[in-house]
Amino acid sequence: MNRRDITTLAAALLLSLPGSLTQAADVTEIAITYIVDHPAIDAAQQGMIDALAEGGYTDGDKLALTVQSAQGSMPTQLQIAKDFAGREPDLLVGISTPSAQALQSVAGDRTVLFSAVTDPVAAKLVETLESPGANITGTTDKQPFEPTLELIRALVPDASTLGIIYNAGEANSVAQAEALAAVVGDFGFELVEATAAQTAMVPDAALSLAGRVDAILIPTDSTVVSAIESVVNVGTKAKIPVIASDTDSVERGALAALGFDYYQLGWLTGEMALRILQGEDPGVIPVGALDTQDLYLNANAAEAMGVTLSEDLLTSATKVIQ
């Protein structure tokens, strides 16, 4: 490819661009973007699409759906946001904090819906959770930690120190760690933090907690959850119960989790989308959160980590992995 070939290719690309999308008037356009491909984000997206379909908006029929991933790149996220703004869709959806922020910066008076944002107030997306104020609302994946701390107390009655492993570079994880630190005292725990910037650093973080804590809690942190096996490994060897915050981790060896279902969160977001499409003002729709949590237990892990599962817990569990 010589210089002229590249020029020709570039010209051809530019010429092929203006081919705009032609849409029938009664089709609703929704544009979804997210920062990176991840199981939780995919689940939220699927939940939302299914809820829209349930409400009568099926892709290709009454709905024209555009979905784009920023591949973990903020500059690409900016370009996607601008592209979306120019398409004039009926609704812009950002899953994850940076995606929602990018859409917010280009939205103008267009409506933006977000999902899987842990702290929408700190991210300056909404004024308050109860009344967002502007043309942006959505759902948060912030979990109340009180039920999880009660569960840990039930599993390990004599525990006094609780370890947590998270990625200090993830806004969502830091928000969870801060929320947890604020409430552990009420349950008689002392918090010990360990951080891992990459998946490869998770084993070291887990080892650093061995001998210093009576139980380990893993938040919904994609870096740590990706390497949950290495935490389980340390927990098994050092007889420290490992409690997760997503049900999938229990199937991968964690002792227990009061699970957070991103599909359900996406479904909730989809229901909010339906309300907005029917003309409701997003500024007065409170930020949504899930109030149900499913208990998953792993009987093998309980034995390996030296925990006895009480009859009460076993009967209240949604699923017990043998």
């Binding site: 490819m1 010589n2 210089r3 590249i6 020029t7 570039a10 690309l13 530019l14 092929s16 661009l17 203006p18 081919g19 705009s20 999308l21 491909d37 784009q68 991933s69 591949q71 973990g72 790149s73 903020m74 500059p75 690409t76 900016l78 370009q79 996607i80 946001a81 601008k82 592209d83 979306f84 703004a85 120019g86 398409r87 904090t97 940076p98 922020q101 990018a102 917010q104 910066s105 280009v106 700190a122 991210a123 300056k124 997306l125 200090a168 570079g169 993830e170 806004a171 830091v174 910037a197």
Partner: protein
């Protein structure tokens, strides 16, 4: 592709032309394969964002972000020149360290500048270009930095810096201090990258600790596309190539995003970028081998300047 998407591509392109200029200084002029930029880009953003939310004037905050980037470059240069750490490793070490430092500076991983005063705010009223305001301002900044680099590389210090990068032994024979030149060049290079990060945070309204991922690849892709189109025989041509290459690269991405040109979709972008860079590197190597490595004109100018000085 709609007007918004075009404005977004130009905006991101002009922002990354500053990165490309920095990468040109390190990779091409100094022959220093510098990976610091993946850290100095978010560093510029972080320093500026923290300054702005603490009420510092946005213009001063931009200057702080630029200076922070320059310091990061100085650190990589120092590791290489004074502590004799391999240049590639020196950059990687600084980049890794900056991740923690950026977290410390910001105190949290993500700072939103939504609703804050930025250097773009006053011009929105004055210029009245609507969605093009950022593009116009960034074009002015990018051109100013291009002419700054052109001017700098023609000064006596700049000529010495080029000589040092081209052939350190011969430069030393002309009494050029190679170590000092590396420090200076790395500082200016990463200062430009810090400026890019600072402006990115202000135009997009957010600084995020993970925003530096892939900065070096984008900068290199822009530099190399520019070189392939315009050539790098002359400094002015190479720097113009940085601007054009960066904008063009972002148009490729916008095209891929807008509707699968040539069957390319968003998830293929990283692969496409890697292929573009690899092909262009091979092309520019072939060209370099043809033209020979040394540039007699550069050495004549350097000798003349030092003679004039006495």
């Amino acid at each position: 592709m709609n007007l918004f998407a075009i404005s977004g591509a130009i905006e991101a392109g002009l922002l990354f032309s500053l990165v490309a200029l920095g990468v040109y200084l390190s990779f091409r002029v100094l022959s220093f394969p510098d990976l610091t930029v993946d850290g100095s880009f978010p560093l510029g953003a972080a320093a500026t964002a923290v300054a702005i939310i603490n009420g510092v004037n946005p213009f001063l905050a931009t200057l702080i972000g630029t200076a922070a980037g320059g310091l990061a470059g100085l650190l990589s240069g120092y590791l290489n020149v004074r502590l004799r750490i391999l240049n590639l490793l020196a950059g990687i070490l600084t980049m890794v360290a900056l991740y923690s430092i950026n977290l410390r500076i910001m105190g949290r991983p993500n700072i939103s500048l939504y609703g804050e005063e930025t250097i773009f705010t006053p011009f929105e009223q004055i210029l009245g270009f609507g969605i093009w305001t950022n593009c116009v301002l960034l074009l002015i900044v990018a051109l100013a930095m291009k002419f700054f680099v052109d001017w700098f590389l023609a000064t006596e210090v700049g000529l010495a810096l080029r000589a040092s990068g081209e052939n350190p032994e011969m430069a030393r024979a002309q009494s050029v201090n190679n170590g000092r030149m590396t420090l200076l060049g790395m500082m200016i290079s990463n200062g430009l990258v810090g400026l890019a990060g600072s402006l990115f945070a202000q135009s997009q309204g957010v600084a995020d600790v993970n925003m530096g991922i892939g900065t070096i690849v984008t900068g290199l892709a822009a530099l190399i596309i520019g070189e392939t189109l315009i050539g790098n025989a002359r400094v002015a041509g190479a720097t113009l190539g940085c601007l054009i290459g960066a904008v063009l690269y972002r148009f490729f991405i916008a095209a891929a995003l807008s509707a699968g040109v040539l069957g390319i979709q968003a998830q293929d972008l990283n692969l496409v970028t890697a292929i573009v860079v690899a092909v262009a590197v091979v092309l520019s190597q072939a060209r370099r081998n043809r033209s020979g490595l040394t540039r007699p004109a550069l050495w004549r100018r350097l000798a003349r300047r030092s003679l004039q000085k006495g």
